[in-house]
Symmetry: D2
Subunit: 351 residues, 4 copies
Amino acid sequence: MIKAGIIGATGYAGAELVRILTAHREVKIVWYGSRSYIDQKYADIYRNLFEIVEDVCLDDSLEELASRVDVIFTATPQGYLASILNDAVLAKAKIVDLSADYRLQDVHVYEKWYGISHRSPQYLAEAVYGLCEVNREAVAKARLVANPGCYTTCSILTAYPLVKEGLIDPDTLIIDAKSGVSGAGRGAKTSNLFCEVNESIKAYGVTTHRHTPEIEEQLGYAAGRSIVVNFTPHLVPMNRGILVTEYAACQRKGDGSLPTYAEIKAVYDSYYEKEPFVRVLKKDVCPETRWVEGSNYVDINFRIDERTGRIILMGALDNLVKGAAGQAVQNMNLMFGLPETEGLMMVPVFP
Amino acid sequence: MIKAGIIGATGYAGAELVRILTAHREVKIVWYGSRSYIDQKYADIYRNLFEIVEDVCLDDSLEELASRVDVIFTATPQGYLASILNDAVLAKAKIVDLSADYRLQDVHVYEKWYGISHRSPQYLAEAVYGLCEVNREAVAKARLVANPGCYTTCSILTAYPLVKEGLIDPDTLIIDAKSGVSGAGRGAKTSNLFCEVNESIKAYGVTTHRHTPEIEEQLGYAAGRSIVVNFTPHLVPMNRGILVTEYAACQRKGDGSLPTYAEIKAVYDSYYEKEPFVRVLKKDVCPETRWVEGSNYVDINFRIDERTGRIILMGALDNLVKGAAGQAVQNMNLMFGLPETEGLMMVPVFP
Amino acid sequence: MIKAGIIGATGYAGAELVRILTAHREVKIVWYGSRSYIDQKYADIYRNLFEIVEDVCLDDSLEELASRVDVIFTATPQGYLASILNDAVLAKAKIVDLSADYRLQDVHVYEKWYGISHRSPQYLAEAVYGLCEVNREAVAKARLVANPGCYTTCSILTAYPLVKEGLIDPDTLIIDAKSGVSGAGRGAKTSNLFCEVNESIKAYGVTTHRHTPEIEEQLGYAAGRSIVVNFTPHLVPMNRGILVTEYAACQRKGDGSLPTYAEIKAVYDSYYEKEPFVRVLKKDVCPETRWVEGSNYVDINFRIDERTGRIILMGALDNLVKGAAGQAVQNMNLMFGLPETEGLMMVPVFP
Amino acid sequence: MIKAGIIGATGYAGAELVRILTAHREVKIVWYGSRSYIDQKYADIYRNLFEIVEDVCLDDSLEELASRVDVIFTATPQGYLASILNDAVLAKAKIVDLSADYRLQDVHVYEKWYGISHRSPQYLAEAVYGLCEVNREAVAKARLVANPGCYTTCSILTAYPLVKEGLIDPDTLIIDAKSGVSGAGRGAKTSNLFCEVNESIKAYGVTTHRHTPEIEEQLGYAAGRSIVVNFTPHLVPMNRGILVTEYAACQRKGDGSLPTYAEIKAVYDSYYEKEPFVRVLKKDVCPETRWVEGSNYVDINFRIDERTGRIILMGALDNLVKGAAGQAVQNMNLMFGLPETEGLMMVPVFP
């Protein structure tokens, strides 16, 4: 039985970790870290866990935690883990970090987009970007995994095969993303009140959202060169779910023709057919967030526009599962040699 | 492995049965009955099951089905099962009926409230009302279980201990119920369109809702005499969930005083402390549907009003799980000698 | 042109006052009071008013305000107005108070339910309870109007004619109320975040909600004696709207029979037929909040239950309009001798 | 007083016409056409109009209607008006057509995208595309106005000044649009049921949506040449509102530099500063549909991305008002020489 600790257990991602790990046969949560709710019963805060979890919340003490558990999940604000991580901790426990601290290899990019200085860049080289479908083998050997962002997981997996195979021009890539409100966290902000969000949609962080460089770095690896993209997130009045709609110019063939549906589909299949959590949909079926809610699936599809020469890619996932806690557990499974799907085969909940 | 067939597999209750049974270790669904979608892939209709269920929908043939499966779930319109059930079928397969056909023991009451004639009243005596917490032993021996209605499950379980123990006057019982929209089914009606339901609340079926006599019959058994109640359902703009708020006069003690919180709580505990799916909340915590969503739990609590001498009871459940498919599986578990909680310990999904 | 000032202009009720008064032909708002947003442009906070309102928010200074305006609307926390009101202010400007400070004539009841001491009980005798349909003439002469609460307006108007005419037993009255989230205000509380409220329903303030004594006092006047009722509010995932479902035993006639539909309807009509903002619906049509959204209407109807001898009353209004700002303007119209409907004949917005 | 008739009065756009015209001082509706609800009271279908509109629905008879009214609004399915329009009708009454029948000048484009043959192409030359901000003078003289689509109004107005002034490369234009559900109409389809739409987002009509050629034609006029664009609509779980996010490459200056914020803003202002219904927001403020709900405003803004050389344009409107009924009334005002804003200065309703 793997002993797990969670720092930041009372945010939405932390709570989703609790939901998933509670049902995981090989894991026992022994530390519910929450600075805001110390000594309160966890199930008094997340009452869905009433009579399921009896523990109380504990303070955040990475050192002590490391000596008690096998794996630490940090669902904490940016900069937190970077400010306290050290060799002693890493020697004792594996870490899956749900913050952005070790996602970007270039510390200058991190500091520019996040506006804080990185306090432990020495671990960047060791940290593995935990997008299992891309970095499966490296994750399996890692002590420190940087769990990808919710938007980025969806954005990257949707475009990855086509960028990697050179089927689209990455310089033309535009990502228009839409997210449910749980992605904004559980902080008590006026802008996330029910009446402010309900019955409305807006873009935010236009040209400045912090997931942009993460997408650029990872898709840049696929492209074999650095790229810049437009990424525009939107807030949608629903609890969960991310949908990305991506636009790119197709690379035309020598005769000037566009790739066919079958050709693109074959490329997607070659990457994802055996992936347990990536579902490439049938022709002309558009991904919808309702079909992945509560599950670890990413649904992907595409459509070629003969008129404009562009391809429209679409991807959908549950931001709290494949976009956060589910992927974190998927990484943990790999890191501990468990079946990758252990505890993650939840059927999506609809309606 | 128990072989299961579902008639009415493409309604919301049917789809929830599929979700639950797909994850149930002892059951395999071998028949997805849906008159509306014959020969279509089930996962083309409920795309959450894409790459999970590969079967196509079949016509409704109770006879043939009975010879192929161990258990049949009927999630069908009122009157359907009553019109085709026969001895041969019952001899071959056990049935959990999610319709109202065998819920009311008095056929005249059924015919009056449902406005149709009952075609097989001869099975009423055999049918067991499948409220597991009340009829556990009878269910275990039954061939034909009448799965309770969603409103009724919530209404009855919330009041049952107090009626049974004579702590409230059942003639004063008023049940004000609120339901999410999935309870209205998947039929294409204007009144259930998004824009008609969203941003509104209404009562409906006032004094005439068909769950009224079901509540009256079952609570009448508890009271030891026939009772009439007011039951008023409301439609709430959310997918899932039922909340009932019940009002009744407390039976005063000999000295005219009201029962205390501790006394009422002790009664609830004596009935429900060991029930795996009934959670009596802490003092002053009100049930909320969000804390049971996606799960088989019923959350219950109460508050005594010294000023009016009434007690206010509250109960919350997920209408598709404990109010339909989950309870159906709970019944099935009992009927086949499985652990009652098998396949049903899903942690509620929040947010 | 009436000059108006608003204290608390940046709460939801305050903002609705701005929306309504901006379109009112006889009023000009000259003071947007908001302690939280001093010196900020009002339209930067409520961007629906961009290019419509150019003013900036001012501090709350009742004295100065009184010398500048004809009418002051206070949409402020309980206790605020009571703590600063004085004769000089009342000599200069009329006041419509949207808080509870002058709603309850009995200061002990106020202090008990609100948990604060009343700082200016000397004005209670003068204050008029601004339920126009009941106190029209007194409002017209008032300097200080206590604008009723949202739940109370709906609860009282729905039951008033039947209580007044002795057609129901007020001791049996139970009010089950449901409200949209704007009733909870714009404060940044975790419990009102989108993800906490969406897809859920709950009761709150059970047996303790502060609108209870207000309902009891006003319906007590109608009954001619003091009464106690059960009032249970619920939070519904929608922006606006209140629905009340009220239950009471009918007073039977001398021969033991219940009143007929026609008899009850005639009573409602005698009270409301000429009321511009009260609509008694057709037989068997249940009020729905969607049909009054954005308007000053209250929709009312009832249904007699022959089985239980009770009558079920239903009422719906928009909590920010007839439940707050619209009623405040209706009161202002009366106080200034304007047509009562001036600026208030907005057609409800649907969908 | 202008006498108006509506054909298709019981769809959502028709009902919004009724809401707006009921409050319009110069118009009286004398014909509520609705084939589905003949002889039923209009206010029985749209109960927001109870005690406001007393008329019953009439059959669709264009000829008879034309002889009774001054203006006819047709909120009808595609092809309907084209199949029955004739000279006699046009000689008697002005027409504002909310369908697509006369929006596209090229009948082949119409027939290709709509899949039906156009039955009266002879009126295409006469029909004026009723985007008031662009075609104000032509509208004023027109007998037949083609009221623009909801998506198109938002898409075109957002990009128009920049295309017209050559500040963006129209061949790079990508429009990612998001709409509330009322845009899908009131037809009883499973796909528009509350539970199917709520808590989800999806793209639809990818590369094939019928508003695409309308955008291309109108922006082509602005560009001075034909263009093709990508237009992708999405369905958002809210009643009203359209948001468009548009991406295009900026035309660089001779020195290779991008236009500045001030330069682009100046262009927008030169087009829209005096427009009563177009609001160009302050720097860095993103349009949100909640700020225009219930009103005839379009909110627009933009952000230049120095990294990619693209500009991101955003526009928001209420699809039933500026996207349908409001714009139709704006056209009618122009056609009858009324002030363009008459009956349309509704303050947006929030929350």
